[in-house]
């Protein structure tokens, strides 16, 4: 479900690491999904190259900036599990403290052929769960008390399966690299802004304010597009994890149920009796059909819940009737 930004250090340029790795995978991937992911990655790389070219022609010194970002990203990468624990208040729990949870995680990890990850619990009523770790050996899966209380065993299992799928798909690495590119860009943007205001620091050779303004504008645009691409990428990884988790468990409906339960969509179904409704609709100027939801799609890290649930239900249907 939700992963903190710290959890996204570093991406495997290829999703194919999965299939070429020594561990055998019992699931196959969603082809279209992989294609789209590659495309997004390609676009990111392309954007990065174009951007570098621009900077080069504008005469900016990157020698100072790159190492700094490198260090930050490395810290994120190698300490992500500790950072996560620190930033979310998740507490690692032993098998004695949470026998049921441990048993469930162990069982699922076995199905993925991955070592037992660290298990943590967050003491909050808000239902959520996340996974982190640069590879399966360093994985951590955390759930909140709220989600433990609210979901059935079958549903909680689906949620943890989804989180472990992120680990198995090396999503933290994928997103870390994407994140790295955007971080780099934002750093450069700040540096350039600095240059523009105070001059100096390597920006001297430039031929006047117009050039810098130009670079600044381009940086903003590149950064913005970069962000959109990263968000698109995370959404694809999200669908991917839904899919992988469903194939591992063989029960796509369980995750759909869980999502519905915790998202509160179900809570929207009213208590009210239709007979209490006055003929209010006659006065409505905006027809119901025009009041559609969505339009935040582009910016949200997770795909719209409706869409995820829909896809899971479709998968459920296909599995049930044996259509592939």
């Amino acid at each position: 479900m939700h992963r903190n930004i710290f959890a996204w250090p570093f991406l495997a340029l290829k999703v194919s690491i999965m299939s070429s790795s020594p561990t055998t995978r019992k699931f196959h991937k969603d082809r279209g999904l992989v294609t789209r992911m590659y495309f997004t990655m390609f676009m990111l790389g392309f954007l990065y190259a174009v951007f570098a070219l621009f900077l080069y022609s504008a005469g900016t010194a990157m020698i100072f900036i790159v190492p700094i970002i490198g260090i930050i990203v490395a810290v994120q990468y190698f300490m992500s599990d500790r950072l996560i624990l620190m930033s979310t208040g998740a507490k690692a729990v032993t098998a004695e403290q949470e026998p049921e949870l441990h048993r469930m995680v162990k069982m699922l990890a076995d199905r993925y052929d991955m070592p037992m990850p660290k298990v943590a619990v967050i003491d909050t009523a808000i239902p959520n769960a996340f996974a982190t770790g640069r590879n399966p050996k360093n994985a951590l899966v955390a759930v909140t008390k709220g989600i433990q209380e609210r979901l059935s065993e079958r549903e909680l299992q689906a949620v943890i399966g989804h989180e472990l799928a992120h680990v198995a798909n090396r999503d933290m690495r994928v997103l870390a690299i994407a994140n790295f590119l955007v971080t780099l860009t934002s750093f450069l943007m700040t540096m350039l802004f600095w240059n523009m205001l105070f001059g100096g620091m390597g920006g001297r050779r430039n031929n006047g304010g117009g050039g810098i303004m130009m670079v600044y504008l381009v940086t903003i645009i590149v950064y913005f597009i970069g962000q959109l691409l990263v968000l698109a990428l995370t959404r694809y990884r999200e669908y991917g994890a839904d899919h992988t988790g469903a194939e591992i468990s063989g029960d796509p409906g369980a995750l759909a149920d869980a999502l519905e339960k915790i998202s509160g969509t179900i809570a929207k179904i009213p208590d009210k009796d239709l007979r209490k409704l006055q003929t209010a609709n006659a006065f409505l100027i905006i027809p119901a059909a025009l009041k559609g939801e969505g339009s935040m799609n582009l910016f949200s890290t997770h795909p719209p819940l409706q869409e995820r649930i829909k896809r899971l239900r479709e998968l459920e249907q296909r599995m049930r009737y044996g259509l592939r």
């Binding site: 969509t265 009213p270 009796d273 100027i285 009041k291």
Partner: protein, 198 residues
């Protein structure tokens, strides 16, 4: 009635309501429901409307007389919340649906379109052994709201207002949409009807 409201019943009701025929047939073919034969139209009765005052006679002539009449059996029932129900029964589901449409349409064109609340279809799920999607023998209602021109599933768990199986309804709604039913998109509009008289 404002500028926007004058053709509420006439235009799209059939295209929206008839999606239930396809959806029902699909679920039948999949073996997920047993044949359905009952439905109802609920409206707010009014003394001032001549057609509504004479509803029994009017419906008899509409449903029983003439070529192509569906001959769907009907009963009139008043519930304890001040509403009137036309309860229809027909072994042929598409006849049942067209009778329901006809009843609603007749009420609408005779000046009582704002009195129309909903059409309600009763469907029983069979459930299958290996999937635990719907409980075996689960009774569901598919409510068609005239003002929204869309359906939604209703699975009451008791007679008190608010007693309903929301998670089953939510997943049923998804499935039914997939099977071609015109499902109401906004869940907040899925208002229940407790104490349906059939």
């Amino acid at each position: 009635m404002g500028i926007f409201g004058s053709n509420k019943v006439a235009k799209n009701d059939w295209s929206a309501m008839s999606t239930v025929v396809k959806a029902e047939a699909k679920l039948q073919a999949l073996g997920e429901i047993t044949p359905s034969r009952r439905a109802g139209v609920i409206y707010r009765n009014s003394d001032e409307n001549a057609f509504l005052n004479d509803i029994e006679f009017e419906l008899k002539s509409i449903l029983y007389v003439g070529e192509g009449a569906t001959k769907t059996a009907f009963e009139i029932e008043d519930d304890d919340r001040g509403m009137r129900w036309i309860v229809l029964e027909d072994g042929n589901f598409s006849d049942l649906v067209s009778s329901v449409y006809t009843v609603g349409n007749a009420i609408g064109v005779n000046g009582a379109e704002d009195n129309l609340l909903a059409a309600v279809f009763e469907l029983y799920f069979t459930g299958t052994v290996e999937d635990n999607t719907y409980r075996s023998g689960l009774r569901t209602y598919w409510i068609y709201r005239y003002d929204r021109k869309a359906f939604y599933p209703f699975v009451p768990t008791g007679d008190n207002e608010g007693d309903r199986d929301r998670s089953t309804e939510a997943r049923l709604g998804q499935d039914l949409r997939k099977h071609g039913l015109a499902v109401e998109k906004s869940l907040t509009e899925w208002m229940g009807l407790w104490g349906i008289p059939f």
